[in-house]
Structures are given as structure tokens and as C-alpha cells.
Symmetry: none
Subunit: 401 residues, 2 copies
């Protein structure tokens, strides 16, 4: 879908839309012929809603493509992830809840090991623990550069986030990671004339950083990758005309919601707290993105039964959402995370679209196999779900006369 087309058709309406995302919802059987996690779960409320809905499976990015969390969520927000690509530096910033500003230049950093001749011998610095990396980040954060602020935040193990803030910066700077060992790190180059100043500042930072790191073997060097600025995309409200709120406990998902301009609500605790916040904020927004993380984490851990349990907890909370009398509800995942694979996967994701103005199909059970025969089809492009939700909320006017 072309976001400009949608934006040109949006019209106001007094309707509310909820997008309930169980991260990594899609699964696989752990025994041949057995149920998936969702099929094994006892989900009377999801099944009852499925019976009133159009069901199907969506494909977040493209056939066979396993999505990362960023692209998968952009698809659910209606942004085709092949068109709207987030660069690595920005993704790292989202992942650690860094308050990225419009002109900031962010990059992903890796601590490395360097030999006496300046050649890289380990591009991951022996996978130093996060605490060690965090201390080095503190030291690097004290470096001063002329006319700009800098931030160095730990991510995990040998990985960190590097951000420059100031006027006139550009992300058109080449990476310093040579992608191999036995050679020195590369020098940052301006890829466009307007990036000359940024490249010089990065070079100066690298020189000062080298002086700090030289005695911290195995983390005695670094490389920087994926210089990026916040993309200048049409915002969620510009496209859909809805006041949108995000309810998510994890930084990455708050970050992606913020990236498209949603308002991110403050929430801590557990699933129940997310639903309580939904109830509290109900009057103030038209659209709610509610993100459930532990379906994905349990899938990543290979914990089939734990994932089943999370799905059942969400099922038990669903009546609280429905009691708010939403006009449109989409329940789905951002991608599949089968416990059997212990990772994200390319499998299409079960989805249902309930709407007061909607049709139904014959699906009465929310599960991978049942959804195959649903009216949304077996591989709906993920980015079509939200335009469909918008239409069912009667927030799109007629195209042509």
C-alpha cells in the first residue's frame, strides 16, 4: 500500500482501533502432527472472537523472509518494510530506549581486539561481558568533541551505541569495520560533501577513543557501523489520521512506535499492567498498539509450554479489551518464533480482524491451520492489515467518483 494514497483518503470518524500484537505468535508443532503453541493453548476468548472475525495468516516482509523485530512491526503499522528500511544505528538506539532526536547521527559500535601492528585480531573482543563493555562506554562517554555532544551507551556484550548530537551532522559516513581480521580498522569517509564535518568528528573521536582503550585488552579497539539518522517518514497520524498510543514494556517496540510518531505511554510491570493502562487511556486515543513480549522470549528459549501459558494469559485478559467496545480489533503477531526453532522464522503469522462493519468467515478457532481457510487468506502482506483496519473503522473515504 502506498502511504500517500492512504493519507489522501483518510477521513475522521468516532471509532477506536486496537492492534494487539503477541510478539513471535506463530509457531510450529514440536511433535510431528501435533499442535503449534497457539493450537495447544486453551483460548476460549480468542476462539470466540475469531468466530466473529475474518481470519488468515500474514506475511510480514516477503515470502520466506524471516523478519527482525523492527521490520516486522513496521509492517504491522502499514509501512512496507522493504520500502521503509531502518538503518542499524537507529535500530540500536531504539533497542536501548535512547531518546534519539531528529538530527542525531547514531552508529552501532563493536569493541575489538587489535595487535601491536594495529591489525584487528578479534572483531568481538573475546565477547567481553556486558558489565565490562558498560564501564568502557562510561570512559568513552567522557571524550569531548568540538561543537557536538556525544553519547556512548552499552547494548550487550561487546556491542554499544554511539550517538553524535549537534548542528549540521550527516549520516553519509562510511563504516570503519573491515569485516575481516588481519587488517586495520578503516577510516571513516564522508560519502557526500555535506558529511565532511561528521566524518572528521568521527575520526577525532576514534583517535581519542584509541588512547582510552589501548590498555583495556582484549577490548583495546573499536569499529563503528551503520551510521544513521532518524528517517523522515510520514507519521502514523499523518497517514491514518488517528491519535495513536503505544503500550509496550520493551524498549525496541516503544522505539519503533516512536519512530512512526506514536505517543508511547509509560508502563511498567506485566501483561496485566498493559491492559490496565489500555483501560485508563481509552478515552484519549483512537488507536492503540498493545505489545506482548514474552510469547517471543519463550519461543526464543525453546520453551513451548511457557509460550502456551503466555498465550492463555493473554486470552484471559482479552475480555477486558473487548469490554471497552472497540470498533476494530486486530490480533496477531509481528512474526513467528516457533519454540521448535528457538528463533524468529519466516512462517506466516495467524491474524484476525474483528470489526463491527466486518464480514466473517467460517473459522472458529484461532490457530495456524484453522486460519489457513480464513477470509484474509494464507499470506496476506502484513502491511495491508492496518489499511484494512482503518477502512473497517470507516476512516477512509471513497477513491474516485
Amino acid at each position: 500500500m502506498d502511504l500517500k494514497l492512504i493519507a489522501s483518503l483518510q477521513q475522521p470518524a468516532d471509532t477506536k482501533v486496537v492492534l494487539l500484537v503477541m510478539d513471535g505468535l506463530g509457531g510450529l508443532p514440536i511433535q510431528t502432527g501435533g499442535p503449534t503453541e497457539l493450537e495447544a493453548a486453551n483460548t476460549p476468548n480468542l476462539d470466540a472472537l475469531a468466530a466473529l472475525s475474518m481470519c488468515g495468516l500474514h506475511q510480514p516482509v516477503a515470502p520466506g523472509v524471516t523478519p527482525g523485530s523492527g521490520p516486522a512491526h513496521l509492517a504491522l503499522f502499514g509501512y512496507d518494510p522493504l520500502t521503509y528500511q531502518v538503518q542499524r544505528g537507529v535500530l540500536e538506539a531504539l533497542g536501548v530506549d535512547f531518546p534519539l532526536q531528529r538530527q542525531d547521527v547514531a552508529a552501532r559500535g563493536n569493541f575489538c581486539t587489535m595487535d601491536d601492528e594495529g591489525r584487528l585480531t578479534d572483531r568481538r573482543a573475546g565477547r567481553i561481558p556486558t558489565e565490562v563493555g558498560a564501564k568502557l562506554c562510561d570512559l568513552l562517554g567522557e571524550i569531548e568533541l568540538p561543537g557536538v555532544e556525544l553519547f556512548v551507551w552499552p547494548v550487550k556484550d561487546y556491542r554499544f551505541l554511539f550517538v553524535l548530537r549537534g548542528p549540521g551532522l550527516s549520516d553519509a559516513v562510511s563504516e570503519t569495520d573491515p569485516q575481516m581480521t588481519g587488517v586495520p580498522a578503516l577510516e571513516p569517509q564522508a560519502l557526500k560533501p555535506e558529511a565532511a564535518k561528521t566524518a572528521e568528528l568521527v575520526q577525532l573521536f576514534l583517535e581519542k577513543a584509541q588512547a582510552v582503550l589501548k590498555d583495556h585488552h582484549p577490548a583495546n579497539a573499536m569499529v563503528l557501523r551503520g551510521f544513521a539518522q532518524t528517517p523522515d517518514w510520514p507519521t502514523f497520524t499523518e497517514v491514518y489520521g488517528m491519535r495513536a498510543a503505544a503500550i509496550a514494556l520493551y524498549p525496541m517496540y516503544r522505539g519503533v512506535a516512536k519512530l512512526v510518531g506514536m505517543e508511547v505511554l509509560d508502563v511498567h510491570g506485566d501483561l496485566e499492567d498493559e491492559f490496565a493502562l489500555l483501560e485508563q487511556a481509552w478515552a484519549d486515543y483512537d488507536f492503540f498498539f498493545v505489545h506482548i513480549k514474552p510469547t517471543d522470549s519463550s519461543g526464543e528459549d525453546g520453551a513451548f509450554d511457557r509460550k502456551v501459558g503466555i498465550i492463555e494469559r493473554v486470552d484471559a485478559l482479552l475480555p477486558r479489551l473487548l469490554a471497552l467496545d472497540p470498533d476494530v480489533v486486530v490480533v496477531t503477531g509481528d512474526h513467528s518464533t516457533p519454540a521448535a526453532l528457538k528463533s524468529h522464522s519466516w512462517h506466516p503469522v495467524p491474524a484476525m480482524l474483528y470489526a463491527k462493519t466486518g464480514r466473517r468467515d467460517s473459522v472458529t478457532r484461532f490457530g495456524e491451520t484453522a486460519c489457513l481457510s480464513g477470509g484474509l487468506g494464507p499470506h496476506l502482506p502484513g502491511c495491508e492489515l492496518l489499511p484494512l483496519a482503518l477502512a473497517h473503522a470507516q476512516r477512509m473515504k471513497k477513491f474516485g467518483a
Copy 2:
């Protein structure tokens, strides 16, 4: 589908194709869990044909997009309505059966109310009745302009059609509607150098029209919108190689058929007369577009039972069509017009493709829910139906060796 690709593959064949369009066919239940209009109708003939056909639902424009009549029909004719966009002036001309010629410039006019200072106070002139508008159009039609003919035809209420005919005209002229009240109408501007003459002629017309209208409060002014010329698209016969005839009782549909170069047959009366004409003209064409209007009108009126009755009348007429022994029959709507919504809607439209060379699916009932499990899928792009029909008529040759 790329029309150039289709055109490059067309080959002659001694086969006949019928596209039977029940306007606004798709519907919704009026009671929770109840049938749609089509499902409520008793349609033994449509059901029997469905059992011999591939069924499904098509999406005329894009997911969630509610189509206007023009774009919806272009899709059924195989012209992707996002690529082939008709401008307002041309649409108005089609809607009143104006015999638009290739170089004519058409615009939609609105009568308005203007105060003593020349500011618009009502952009719809108090919604004057059509008869009043028609008399004003007669007066305006007498205006003379140097070197061109002009036509002013009533449309409805305060709306009219304005057409300039003559050599060297261009539609690159800006609208005079300021889209708000409290300000004067805008002056027409040439948006390209070659439109200078047209803009001057429009300006001259507006001055003369003002002298005519000044004593006709509340319709004492006007604005002109959507200047447009007939688009230079490949014709139906160029693309598909079929001699095509349109049988339609309403101007808009005759107009869209004419726009793609179909021959529009002369028909008056009711549905039965359309089928009688189909029989009479059977020997003379390869392709027939038969348009049934009152399914849409009854949907727009919220008249569920009336829509059911119209569908049953079409069902009863279907054997006359089948008795002609067509090689391919497509039965569908151009969009949905659920009585429950009293308007066009975005819901996919039931469709069946019967062909002597076709496959069947397991659908034996022509209805929204049954068609979900059909071989055409639950959201086939509308503009793919006609290429499929062409192929089943054995009028497309092999691609590549």
C-alpha cells in the same frame, strides 16, 4: 497487469466472453450472523454456474479502499485504477452521457452564492433544485467565445458540466474553487505554457457568465473544478483484440465503457431489455459488458430486500445468457454496496469465472462466505479478472519459447 504485456500476447480466437456486472453486488448481513443480500437471495442459476466455475472475491482498487464507480469499472476492464486515473471533468461528462471528443476540455461546475464584495458565501448556492440549475445552464450555453464551441449541461442540483471544444485546447488550467467561503473565486491560471489560450477562454467565459448570473441569487456565481481531457489510454480492442460491446442503462457506465473504446449499444427500459439486446447483438461482438444498476441503487437506499429481489431477477435471466453458449462468463460486481452501510464499501466482491477451458473449485453457492474458499482467492486484484477471462477464451498466446 501490464496492458502492454497483454496486448503483446493477444491472439485471435472464435470465442465469446461475457462480463456480467451487478453494480454494488457485495454486501453485509443486517443481523449479526445473518446472510448478506446475495446469500439471502434464492439464486439456483447462479449457484449452478458457480458449481461449474472458479469462485472468489476481488478487490477493485486496493485493500481497504472503497472504489468510486469509475475506478471500479476500470478495474473490471483490466485497467489498474491506481495507474489509470480519470479526472473529475471527464467523469462528470461520462455521468451525463455527454459525447466527449478527444480534444474537448471538460470541467465540473458548481453554482455558488456571492456577496456584494464578490466573496463566496455558499459554494453550493443553497443547493438549488436541478430544474433551476438546468435553466441557468441554458442561459450560460448561449455565451459565445471566439474560435471554440462551449457546452453547459446540468448534472444535478447546483452541479453542472462545462465543456470547451476547439483546436489547441489544454486541460492544464487551475481550478477556480477556493475550497472555502468568505473569499472570492480564484482566477483560472495556465499551468503549462500551452494552456495559455484555454485559460484566457475560461476567464472570458467566467466574465460573461458573471454578467448572466448576477441577478439569479442564490446562484449568482460559479466555480469550475477538475479541468480534464479524455485520457490517451490503449483501447480495449488494442489490449484484448476483442470487438467489445457495452450494454448499460445508466450514463456513467456507458461513459466508462466508451472511455476505453468499447462500442456502446443503444438500450432503454429494464434488465429484460438488456438481456434481449445481448441476444440480438450476440453475433456481432466478441465481448459483452452487461451492467445491472439497481443492485447498487437498492444498496445505497439501504433496501436489503429490494437488493435481494434484484439479484433474484438477474438469476432468473441468467439462463438466457447461458443459452447463447458463451465460452467465458464472469459474474461479479464492481464493488460492494451493503444495504447495512447505505454506501459503496471496501469489502471484496464475490466473483465467478466460468469457462469451457476452466477449472472448478468446491464452491457450489454464489455468496460472500462460500466464495472465500474458492479458487480465485479471497482478494484477487479486480484488474486480473479480465486477463484471466481472455486466457480462458484462448485469446492469449504463450509467453516466451
